[in-house]
């Protein structure tokens, strides 16, 4: 298991953002659904080792991120795309991706090829020398994805990765997710249930800091049968589970 979580909580002042999450995930694409404020981003940031849990047990890639040495090992094999991607406008796409390859301690000899491959994978090869300040929102998102995958991560965490992508790019991105999920655990936090249906092998639904559903997308779809809210079967499942959790 690449992700093993038991009783994980995270509190921000009086607000309990994550309220006791248990989760196990192996290789594959794992979708994380939930309304705004459900705690998805907080959970993802804890998985990314960006913030520490308030309590609970967390093991990533078979290691405990609470210790310095194992945390570094985890980070070498970690990819993360935050919801709001920060970037350095003066860097070119290639420089931005190379910068993160260096920070992720990709062996120096492998960096040029790894950078080129990551940029190609997100179809930004023609923009490799373009400065980030000159890119559109969708291109920036793809540059962010490139930096996340440049180290061939064992655990890839993507927070709203398809925001800003056009339909064609989203289709291509789902294919990339499926390919990455063959070897790595890819956790995708999203509002877009069609992304989950198309790319994810497992899905969890969060509400009020807790996981209220965990299973295959087909199971979530099944939970929506006979439920009226939503245009698509998966959306109906999503609404039904949420309504059930809140009742």
């Amino acid at each position: 298991m690449n992700v093993e979580i038991t009783g994980l909580t995270r509190r921000f002042g009086q607000n309990m953002a994550v309220a006791g999450v248990d989760l196990r995930a192996g290789p594959g694409v794992f979708g994380l659904l939930g309304p705004n404020g459900a705690g998805k981003t907080s959970l993802l940031r804890m998985l990314a080792t960006a913030i520490r849990p308030t309590s609970g047990r967390l093991r990533l890639l078979g290691r405990d991120p609470g210790s310095y040495g194992p945390r570094r090992e985890i980070r070498r094999r970690l990819g993360y795309l935050p919801q709001n991607l920060g970037y350095y406008p003066g860097f070119t796409v290639a420089e931005f991706v190379e910068y993160f390859a260096l920070l992720k301690e990709v062996p120096a000899a492998q960096i040029p090829a790894a950078v080129a491959a990551a940029i190609e994978r997100v179809e930004l090869g023609g923009e490799a020398k373009t400065k980030l300040r000159a890119l559109s929102g969708g291109m920036l998102r793809r540059a962010g994805i490139a930096q996340a995958i440049v180290n061939e991560p064992g655990l890839l965490l993507l927070d709203e990765p398809t925001a800003g992508l056009d339909p064609e790019q989203r289709v291509a991105f789902r294919a990339l997710l499926r390919e990455l999920g063959q070897r790595a655990t890819v956790v995708v936090s999203t509002h877009l249930v069609e992304d989950v249906g198309a790319a994810c092998t497992q899905v969890a639904l969060m509400d009020a800091g807790k996981i209220v559903f965990h299973g295959a997308p087909a199971d979530l779809t099944a939970r929506g049968e006979g439920h009226g809210t939503g245009d698509a079967p998966l959306e109906r499942g999503y609404s039904a589970v949420l309504a059930g959790a809140r009742s």
Binding site: R45, G86, E98, I111
Partner: protein, 505 residues
């Protein structure tokens, strides 16, 4: 987006080898996109306007140019460097990349240190370029000596410290206003760092703007006849390096749990830096101005530096040669021209000096920051007698042009040379006054002027009595050969006070 497999995937991504190569790549990347590169024209412009112009206005003496450069370079570079370093230090927070970079494997200290190093590298490249230009021009103009490296090292260490402080400010207070704030703070910190200096035993001498006894200003007489004393510079470099290490050590403390050994190492480095800086401040407080006008710190002092520098003087081809330190070669024609009229008057007379020789000034600390420079020992000594003098440029005060120096030399040394020949003991006779006045008239010297410091002053400085003035005019009206012939025969009697006004031709 394509589902192709990256070449990198064929191999494990553990970065266990090539750390140096990776660090070099990271540094190169940071160098390419560093704000300091954009600030270099500003820093170079400031250097040109302040340090370079000021240094070039001074005579081509290495000591003047180097000390002027130390101060000027710091003032010119400190603000841009502090601003750029703060800008780079605040980059992650300003650009919202904190999460992205925090979750990478490379330690925070390595990441921050690389960014700081790139900023400092650019600052150093710009600074060293400016030093190279200034020293290159000086090398072409100077007639003797060589570049002084300690002032250059102090300024370099100062820029590293300013860069570290600016970077720390940017990291700790990540706002877009931190950079201009840091630049302004750097300016005021430097400007105010010397305000509290009182005397030569002040702890505040540790300020990198200080090159010697404060308020002495650039003085041509310092570090020409004696080697440049590196004592204060060593303490300053120690302080600035310690400060840099302390700031960076504190900044690089890891955040997050674990890494106890790293935390301990960073704390140790920081403490060592503070200890070095504190020791340097304490050492600076023990400094004392030596007789050669430089700050000597007993614990850092090397007695070898107290020995005078050996040199072969450059001399004029005049009846009485005027000899200067070779560093002042450019002054020789003007100094000779200023003194030739009076030297021609006294050449060949009994007791006249065989040579006029430039001497080293001796410095004494006065009350507060006041310093006195004077000629040590008698102005005429040795056999054959040699008249020792200080060039006006060696005295404390504003620098002067060559023509101003010649005028000042003629006004001060000329009457003193005449007085040395005609007799200058207390109670000189009216005839001696008359002859001295006549010789000054003949040589075109002012009739009343202050003496050169350290030289015997003319006894009469006020208006001469009418009979004396009449006798002086009469004696001055004689042909030079007749005047000279009379002096050859009667100078001894004149000096003994046995000649009356009536006996003067």
């Amino acid at each position: 987006m394509t589902a192709v497999r990256a070449p990198a995937a064929a191999r494990p991504v553990h970065a266990t080898r090539g750390h140096l190569r990776a660090a070099a790549r990271l540094l190169r990347l940071e160098l390419r996109r560093n704000a300091m590169a954009w600030m270099l024209p500003v820093a170079a412009g400031l250097f040109w306007l302040t340090a370079y112009h000021k240094a070039m206005a001074a005579p081509p003496l290495w000591n003047l140019r180097a000390t002027s450069m130390q101060k000027g370079a710091l003032v010119a570079f400190a603000c841009p460097v502090a601003g750029a370093a703060a800008w780079m230090g605040s980059r992650e927070a300003r650009r919202h990349t904190t999460d992205l970079v925090t979750i990478t494997a490379r330690p925070r200290w390595a990441r921050l240190l690389t960014t700081w190093a790139a900023t400092t590298c650019w600052a150093m490249m710009g600074y060293l370029g400016c030093v190279a230009v200034l020293y290159g021009v000086t090398a072409q103009q100077a007639t003797w000596g060589g570049p002084l490296w300690w002032p250059a090292a102090v300024a370099a260490a100062g820029l590293s410290a300013v860069s570290a402080l600016g970077f720390a400010a940017g990291t700790l207070i990540p706002s877009r206003f931190t950079a201009p704030g840091a630049a302004i703070a750097a300016f005021f910190a430097l400007a105010l760092s010397t305000v509290l200096i009182h005397g030569s035993q002040s702890y505040w001498q540790i300020s990198p703007l200080v090159t010697g006894p404060w308020d002495i200003g650039p003085d041509a007489g310092v570090a020409t006849f004696y080697p440049y004393l590196p004592d204060l510079s060593i303490a300053q470099v120690m302080f600035l390096t310690g400060l840099t290490i302390a700031v960076l050590g504190a900044l690089l403390l890891p955040n997050g749990p674990g890494g106890g050994w790293l935390r301990a190492a960073a704390a140790t480095v920081s403490a060592a830096g503070l200890l070095a800086a504190g020791t340097a401040v304490a050492l600076a407080g023990t400094g004392k101005m030596d007789a050669h006008g430089m700050i000597a710190i007993p614990a850092l002092h090397d007695a070898v530096n107290d020995r005078p520098v050996h040199y072969t003087p450059v001399c004029s081809r005049t009846a009485i040669p005027v000899c200067l330190n070779p560093a002042y070669t450019s002054y020789l024609p003007a100094a000779t021209a200023a003194l030739v009229p009076v030297l021609n008057e006294i050449a060949g007379l009994p007791g006249a000096p065989a040579r006029i020789s430039q001497a080293a000034a001796t410095y004494q600390q006065g009350i507060g920051n006041s310093v006195r420079a004077s000629l040590a020992g008698p102005s005429i000594s040795g056999t054959p007698p040699v008249l020792r003098l200080l060039l006006p440029d060696q005295l404390l005060g504003p620098g002067m042009t060559t023509s101003a120096l010649a005028t000042a030399l003629r006004a001060s040394a000329g009457p003193a040379i005449v007085a040395g020949v005609t007799g200058d003991s207390p109670g000189v006779s009216p005839a001696q006054h008359a002859v001295a006045a006549a010789l000054r008239m003949s040589a075109g010297l002012p009739q009343s002027s202050p003496s050169a410091p350290g030289m015997q002053p003319p006894t009469a400085t006020g208006p001469l009595p009418i009979p004396v003035r009449s006798a002086a005019r009469r004696f001055a009206a004689l042909p030079a050969s007749a005047r000279h012939a009379w002096l050859v025969h009667h100078l001894a009697a004149l000096r003994a006070g046995r000649i009356t006004l009536a006996q003067l031709p």
